[in-house]
Structures are given as C-alpha cells and as structure tokens.
C-alpha cells in the first residue's frame, strides 16, 4: 500500500520504477511536435498513466493533450505566503514588544503600521521560495540520473527530436502490444530502455 503510494507519487514527478528485468519502458520518437501532441492525447485516451513527453521546446496544448490539469503549485504558494505572514507578525511582536522593547519617539512597541513592510516581505519571500522549491519537487528535479540517458538517440531531445516515453511500471504496459500501439501512432522509431544502474551511461 505505502509502496504503491510512493510509486504513484514518484510517477507524478516522472520518476518511474524499472521492472525486475531492468526494463524501464519504451521510448518512441516522433518527427514533428504536432505528431507528438496527437500521440500524447492518444496515449492518454488509451488509459496509460505513467508516460511523459520530451521535446526541445514547450509545445502549446501539451498539458491538455496529456490531461495534466491544473498544477497544485498555487496552493503551495499560498501555504508559503500564510506561513511568512504569520512568522513575520510573530517576529515583529516578539522582538519589538517582548524580547527587547525600546521606546523610539513615542511610538508603540508593537503596532501594525511599521510591521506591514516586514509582513509583506516575508510573505513574498516564503511564498516565492516555496513556489520555486515546490516546482522543483513536483517536477522531480534536480534529476542527474535518468535511465533514458542510456539511449543514444535521446541525446537529440535538446536539439531536433520529439520523444514519448511510456514507463514499464504502467499497469497497461505490455512490451509487444505497447510497442505496436506506439508504432501505430506514427512513431518513426521505438526503443526499449533498460535501467542498468551499474553501467555507465552514454
């Protein structure tokens, strides 16, 4: 149960577990971004969950084609903001009125007016930090090791190639039928990726 949950959480970050026979998944190459977009939609409609697309540039509409929905990053930002606001208020009150009260030109030890800039800044700071941190976490970054790097072909992903990867951990994954399915979508090249951790990548 817990293992399954961990697998799903990792899969949402595009980190997939390899099968026992070291098969990590199938990597299909497409010639155009449009083909990749259609393939992604077809893969989603076929019921696959553990798959990802790779391209040299962002493709408009890919989030819809993959059915990614709205990111929860906004809620993480909100949590960061509220935490920052509360911490700053507490800090201003504790430092000004509790720990070390100093009278300055008759101003109250703690009042909301001069504290607002601090409250505002800490709200923004924690919201921003949690947004960036949350974005990294949700994307499973940084990720220095990825079994896809074993594919020589995959090096072109930062240049002129468009890839769709279906992970072996997907419930619907079946070596032969998935390969046929990807070929049927117009993939110019389908490659089996093995997760060989002990070996060196390309």
């Amino acid at each position: 149960m817990l293992n399954q949950l961990a697998t799903e959480v990792k899969a949402s970050m595009s980190i997939y577990d390899a099968q026992e026979d070291e098969v990590y998944g199938l990597l299909a190459e497409f010639a155009h971004p449009g083909e990749l977009l259609h393939a992604a939609a077809a893969v989603r409609e076929a019921g696959y969950k553990h798959y990802d697309t790779h391209s040299p540039f962002p493709i408009h509409g890919m989030d819809k084609a993959m059915g990614l929905g709205n990111s929860i990053i906004g809620w993480i930002t909100l949590v960061g903001g509220i935490t920052g606001l509360s911490l700053a208020t507490l800090m201003q009150w504790w430092m000004g009125a509790q720990s070390y009260p100093i009278g300055i030109s008759g101003k109250p030890f703690f009042s909301i007016e001069p504290s607002i800039p601090i409250m505002f800044e800490l709200t923004v700071l924690l919201a921003a930090l949690l947004t960036v941190g949350g974005m990294f976490a949700l994307n499973g970054l940084p990720r220095p090791y990825n079994p896809l790097f074993f594919s020589k072909n995959f090096l072109r992903v930062t240049d002129d190639a468009f890839f769709l990867h279906i992970a072996a951990s997907d419930r619907r994954f079946d070596m032969s039928s998935t390969e046929a399915f990807l070929k049927g979508l117009g993939a110019s090249h389908v490659e089996t990726i093995h997760d060989r951790e002990e070996e060196d990548g390309v």
Binding site: H60, G74, E113, P114, I116
Partner: protein, 420 residues
C-alpha cells in the same frame, strides 16, 4: 486624413470626431445592438443630473462636492483607458487587441469631460479653500502663512491654465490614437501601427506627468495644507484598476447582446481579471506607502489628512475602504478559478467600480463634512448622472465603428490567444 475616414460635423465632434465607419466593419465585428445601448444610459444620466440640479439649487456646497467626485470618477476611467491603450501599443501587446477598441473609444471622452467640467469652475470657491484670497493677505484675520507660501502654485489663473494644458494634451494624444486606429479599420495602410507606437511613446511621458499633477490639483488641493508626493500614483493605480473592470463589463454587455461571441474568450477575461487583481493590490500598496510614511513622520500638516478620516464617523468609511477595496477583492480574485468564472468576475468588476468611486468619495467628502460623516443623495445622483452621460457617449461612439481594430496586424494572435 485618408479618403474613407471623414471628420464628423462640428456638433458631433465632441462625441466622435469621425464619421461612422460601421459599414466598413467586418460583419463579425459589427455593432448590432439597438439604440437602447446609448439611449438608456443617457436617460439615466439626464435623470441623475436633473436630481443633482435640485441639489445645486438647495445646497450648492454639497452639489459641487458631489459633482466633483462623479466627474473625477469619469475622468479617472478615461485616463485609465488612455494608459491602457498607450501601454498596449508600446509593448506590442498581442493578447489585448480584441478588447482594445473599448479603451480606444473611451479615450475620446476627454472633450466631453472638459465640457462637463465647466460647472466645477463656478464651484471653485465652494470646493477649494485656497481660492479664498483673504488667506494670502497678511493684514487679514484669515491670513494663513502656510497657504500664502503656496500661492505661487495654488491660484486661479495658474490652476485654469494647468487644467487647459492637461485637457489639450490628453485630447491631442487621444485624437491621434483614436483616429489612427479607426483609419486602420478602413484603409489598412502599412505604417499605422508604427505611428500608433510613436504617439504612444510621447503620450506615456506626457500622460504620466499630467495625470500626477491633475490628481494633485483636482483632489489633493481640496485639503490644501496637506501634501503627499505619491498621490499621483495613488490616483493612477485606482484608475488603471478601474479600466480593467470597465473592459470586462463592456465586453460582457456586448456578448450578452450577441456581439463578439467567440472573439473575446475566457482567456482574455482571465487576463483582465489578473490585471484587476494586480492593480487592486498595487492600489493598496501605494495607499499603504502613503499612510505609513505619514504615520512614521507624524508631522501635523501631513497627519491631518488621516485624522479627518479617522474621527467623527469617518473611521467607518475608512474601514469600509480598506476591507472592500482591498481585503475582500484580494481574497476573491486571488485564485485562478474566480477570474475564469465569468458571473463572479463580472460581479467583482461592478464591486470594484463602486469602490473606485468610494475611494474618491473618501478623499473629497471629509473636506466638506469634517465635523460628522455624511453621504448625500446628491453624491449618488451626480455620480450616476455624469456616468450615464459619459457611458451614453461612449456607447454611441462604439456603435459607429467596428468593435475590434479589425486590420491590426496582431489581431490574429489575439483571436487565437490562450493562457491555459
């Protein structure tokens, strides 16, 4: 002026400087609403002004304040539209082309506002304390050394000259922006877009300076002892927020009446909603910056402004302003969903426009009623009266031309704009 775009006759010029080009409009961008679109607001406007006229006859002091608040409200919407158009041209914005005709039509309100502003000249003595000449006379018991020191700036001839200068600048820039855009509708010559950008660059600089000074002259000098160097930005922040609300509401009105369907999409609304939210926050940021420095400095001639607004019942109005102009819209408009839920966005736009008026009311009315807080029915009638006439002229202008800058080179990008 090209062959196909002609100047309108001098009587209409105040409302629209060009002859109707509606027959050149693409059928998809044609104004198909009945004349009720402008007759209805005109009727409301005239009714409001007639009621206000009763106020002028019975309590002219109150009337002039009410009228000034309503007039400033309309002026601020027009200035917001002015800045919006200018910024869209300068940034070569693509997303906003489908809604740009709305602010473009709004900016030609300046000549009408100049005419509607004439009654204020007769109320200068009621409105502006600094027009009382005995303040500047050392022999008079009314002598006020602080105001006497400001006599070089706060005097009638210079005030009128400044007002004339502002309106000439605004009208000139608006005339160029408005007529160039309509000309592009009819004869899509190359180079019009570049000309629009050029006048926008000049317009942004001139507009920034004139708006800041106009805000100080019209509103800040109501309380002539008080001064705040950030006041121009405060005025701008509210105006720019309000124009977003106006664009959303006008788009919704047009779409409800069967125009521009499929042209203005939820993505455009969401972006307007983002700006509405952003400038609500910006307004609060500026309002607070003004407040905090005055709180900290604690100088009598500065704190008097807030003191007037924190006693004799005005503290309730101040609290309403803070909660309803900032806290509630902040929470409601923060999420993505609320900006894409059009009934809610429309409601918040009406809300923010009311609060925008309330902001001016909060600035001006305590000068009149500094002994006890009061809101007069003439505040409402003058506001609705002026806003009705203003909206009627705007709607009439909209009905005479295409609803979208139909030959703008960036229109296709705006039509296919998505932000999901």
């Amino acid at each position: 002026m090209s062959e196909t775009v002609k100047r309108s006759n001098p009587l209409i010029w105040l409302i629209d400087p060009l002859k109707s080009t509606a027959s050149n409009a693409d059928p998809a961008y044609r104004f198909t609403w009945s004349q009720a679109a402008w007759m209805l607001p005109l009727a409301i406007g005239i009714a409001g002004l007639v009621i206000s006229a009763v106020g002028w006859a019975t309590d002219s002091h109150q009337f002039y304040f009410s009228y000034l608040i309503g007039w400033t409200f309309c002026l601020s919407l027009t200035l917001g539209a002015y800045f919006f158009v200018v910024i869209q041209h300068l940034t070569k914005a693509r997303w906003s082309v489908v809604i740009r005709r709305i602010p473009e039509a709004l900016i030609w309100s300046f000549p009408l506002l100049a005419v509607l502003g004439l009654p204020i000249i007769f109320g200068m003595h009621d409105l502006y304390h600094w027009t009382h000449l005995e303040l500047f006379d050392p022999a008079s018991p009314e002598y006020d050394p602080i105001l006497a020191g400001k006599e070089g700036y706060l005097n009638m001839p210079f005030f009128m000259a400044r007002m004339a200068f502002y309106f000439i600048v605004w009208t000139f820039v608006s005339f160029r922006l408005y007529t160039l855009s309509i000309r592009q509708d009819v004869t899509p010559e190359a180079g019009i877009t570049a000309k629009q950008r050029k006048i926008s660059a000049i317009g942004l600089v001139l507009g920034g300076i004139t708006t800041a000074f106009a805000a100080m002259d019209i509103l800040m000098s109501l309380d002539p002892h008080w001064f705040s160097t950030i006041f121009g930005i405060y005025f701008f922040a509210g105006s720019f927020m309000a124009i977003m609300a106006v664009m959303v509401l006008v788009s919704m009105l047009l779409q409800r009446n069967g125009m521009l369907n499929g042209v203005i999409k939820v993505d455009h609304y969401q972006d307007l909603g983002k700006f509405l939210f952003g400038f609500t926050v910006f307004w609060a940021y500026i309002a607070f910056s003004q407040y905090m420095l005055i709180w900290y400095g604690n100088l009598p001639e500065e704190t008097i402004f807030y003191r007037h607004r924190m006693e004799h019942g005005w503290e309730t109005f101040s609290a309403v302003l803070l909660i309803c102009h900032f806290i509630i819209p902040f929470v409601v408009l923060l999420g993505r969903w609320s900006k894409r839920l059009l009934p809610l966005l429309g409601f918040m736009c009406v809300w923010m426009l009311v609060m925008h008026w309330f902001d001016f009311f909060w600035i001006a009315a305590p000068v009149l009623h500094n002994e006890h807080a009061a809101m007069s029915m003439y505040d409402i009638s003058a506001w609705l009266g002026l806003f009705g006439v203003f909206s009627a002229a705007f709607m009439y202008r909209m009905s005479r031309h295409a609803l979208v800058p139909q030959h703008d080179p960036r229109l296709a990008k705006s039509l296919s704009f998505t932000n999901s």
